[in-house]
C-alpha cells in the first residue's frame, strides 16, 4: 500500500471498526430513556450523560459492587504474584525430572478449563461458599498457572551468580528470594499483574458460580441488572454502566500504555 494512502486507510478503519461501536455506547448513555429504547447511532437531542451515570451509580448500587470487585481483585493479584513467584523461582533453578513434572502440572491450568460446577460443591464442604475468600481461592487456582509460566521463563534468564553473592554473605533462601530475586522480577510481575487484573476485573462466569447472589462484583452486577426487569430495554443505563466499569481499565491503560504493550507481548513471542 502506498505511503500516502496507508494513514487514511488506518484512520478510516479505526473510525468504522472501533469508532462506531464506541460512539453507540457514548451516544446511548447520553440519551433519555425514551430516546434510548431503540438504540441507534443518532446523537442524543439533549445530553443526559451525567444524569444517567448518577442514576446507575445509585440505582444499581455501584459502590457496593466496586467494593466487591476490589475486595477480590487486590488479594487475588497479591497472592498469585507472591506464591507463584516463590514456586517459579525454585522450579526454574532446580532441574530434576520431578520439578519438570511439577512445572508441567503447574502450568496446565493455562489451557485446561476449571471445573466450575464441582468447585461450588467443594467450597460448600470447606464452608467457603459465596465468600470472598472462596472466590479468591478459585481465582488463585486458575491464574497461578499463568504466573508460574511467565515467571519461570523469566527467572531462567537471570544469572544465578546474582543469588550466590548474597548467599556467600550468609543469606538464607527467604532472604535471597526477598532481597535479590523478587526485585529482579519486577518487569515480569508487572506483566502478570496487568493480565490477571484484566481477567479477574472482567470475569463474570466464575463469579456467577462462586459468589453469584451473595456478593456483588461489577461484571456480576451488570449481568444481573441487565438481565433483570429493571434494565430491560434501558439501554441508556446499561451503557452508562459500561462506561463506569470500563473507565478504570482504560485510564490505567492510557497512563501505562507502553509498559502494558511490551508486557503483554513479551511472553508470547520468543
Amino acid at each position: 500500500m502506498s505511503r500516502r494512502l496507508q494513514p487514511v486507510a488506518a484512520l478510516l478503519l479505526v473510525a468504522v471498526v472501533i469508532g462506531v461501536p464506541l460512539w453507540l455506547v457514548v451516544a446511548t448513555a447520553g440519551k433519555s430513556q425514551g430516546e434510548a429504547v431503540d438504540p441507534d447511532l443518532t446523537p442524543p437531542s439533549t445530553w443526559h450523560l451525567w444524569e444517567n451515570l448518577r442514576q446507575v451509580w445509585v440505582d444499581a448500587d455501584i459502590p457496593a459492587a466496586l467494593f466487591g470487585s476490589l475486595l477480590i481483585v487486590a488479594p487475588t493479584v497479591l497472592i498469585v504474584l507472591i506464591l507463584g513467584s516463590m514456586a517459579a523461582w525454585v522450579l526454574a533453578r532446580r532441574t530434576s525430572r520431578f520439578t519438570a513434572m511439577l512445572y508441567a502440572l503447574g502450568i496446565s491450568g493455562i489451557i485446561l478449563p476449571p471445573a466450575v460446577v464441582t468447585v461450588v460443591l467443594l467450597l460448600r464442604q470447606l464452608g467457603l461458599a459465596g465468600t470472598a475468600a472462596g472466590m479468591i481461592g478459585v481465582y488463585a487456582g486458575i491464574y497461578l498457572s499463568t504466573v508460574i509460566f511467565f515467571v519461570t521463563g523469566f527467572v531462567r534468564t537471570i544469572p544465578e551468580s546474582l543469588e550466590e553473592a548474597a548467599r556467600i554473605d550468609g543469606a538464607g533462601p527467604i532472604a535471597v528470594f526477598r532481597r535479590v530475586v523478587l526485585p529482579l522480577l519486577r518487569p515480569v510481575l508487572a506483566t502478570a499483574t496487568i493480565l490477571i487484573c484484566l481477567y479477574v476485573w472482567n470475569d463474570v462466569f466464575y463469579a456467577f458460580f462462586v459468589v453469584g447472589g451473595r456478593l456483588d462484583t461489577l461484571p456480576l452486577n451488570l449481568f444481573q441488572v441487565a438481565s433483570a426487569g429493571l434494565y430491560l430495554n434501558n439501554w441508556h443505563l446499561i451503557f452508562a454502566y459500561v462506561i463506569l466499569m470500563s473507565l478504570p481499565l482504560i485510564v490505567t491503560f492510557a497512563i501505562a500504555q507502553r509498559k502494558i504493550i511490551s508486557g503483554i507481548t513479551s511472553g508470547a513471542v520468543k
Partner: protein, 282 residues
Amino acid sequence: MTILQNGAPGSITRRTHPLWFLLPAYGLLLVFFFLPTVFNFVYAFTDWSGFKAAINPVGFENFEQLVSDGTLFRSLRITIVYAVLVALFQNVFGFGLAVLLERDTAVNRIARTFFLIPVLMSALAVGYIFQALLKGTELLAHTTWTVVVVALIHAWKWMGLSMLIYLAGLKTIPLDVIEAASIDGASRRTAFWRIRVPLLAPAVTFNVATALLGSMNGFDIVQATTGGGPARTTEILNIFIYRTFGQGLFAQATTMSLVLFLLVALMAFPVIYVLRKREEVL
C-alpha cells in the same frame, strides 16, 4: 553454576532452593483447581441435584441421557465450530491489522491504541454493545448464521491482542534477512510471503492456540448477545453448563463440564503439537 546443576543433583539446591517454596502455590492449586477437576470425574456419574440432599451414583446415566436427546453432540459441535471460527477471524483480522499498522508512525500508534480498547473492555459489555448495534436486524436471530456473527464479535474483542503479538513477531525478524532477500532479487511481495510470514510461526502458534482454546471456554459474549439462542443454535458448552446449573441440574452441568475438560485436553495436545512441528520444519 554448571557444577551446582550437574554435580550431585539436589544436594546443594535442596538448601539454596528448598522445595517447600512450592508448597503454598501447589497447595492452592491442589485444593482449588485439581480437586474440583477430580470431583468432575466423580460427580458426573451421580444424580447430584438441587432438589434433594442425597447424592447417589448412577453410572453413565447422565451421559446416556445427554447423548440420547442430542444435546451432547450438538453442544460439542457448536463449541468446536465457534472456536474454529473465532480462531480464524481473530487471526486474519489481527494479522491484517499488524501488517497495515506495522510502521512506527504517529497515526499507526494511535490506531493500535484504539484497537486495544476492546481487549480491555469486559466481554459482557462487548456483547451488550453488539446486541444493541444489531438490534432490528436478523443477524442475531438466524439459526444458521448467528454463530458466525457471534464468532465475529468475539474476534472483534480480541483481534487487538493478536495484532500486538503479530507486531511483536514482525519486529523480531532481523532486517538483514530481508535485505539479503532483496539483494538476491526477491520482490517485496515475495520477501513478505516467503520470508516474513513463515518466520512468524511462533506468533501463529500462540495466537491460534490461545484463540482456539480460549473460545472453547467462552461464555460472556455468547450470553450477552444471544444467550445461546435462537433455538439453542449458539449454545456452547459453558452456556449449557450455566443454564442447567441455574435449573438445579447439577449432575448434568458437571457432566458437560467434564466433557469440556476432555475436549480441551484432547484438542490442546494435537493443536500445540502440530503448530510446534510446523515451527521446527521452518
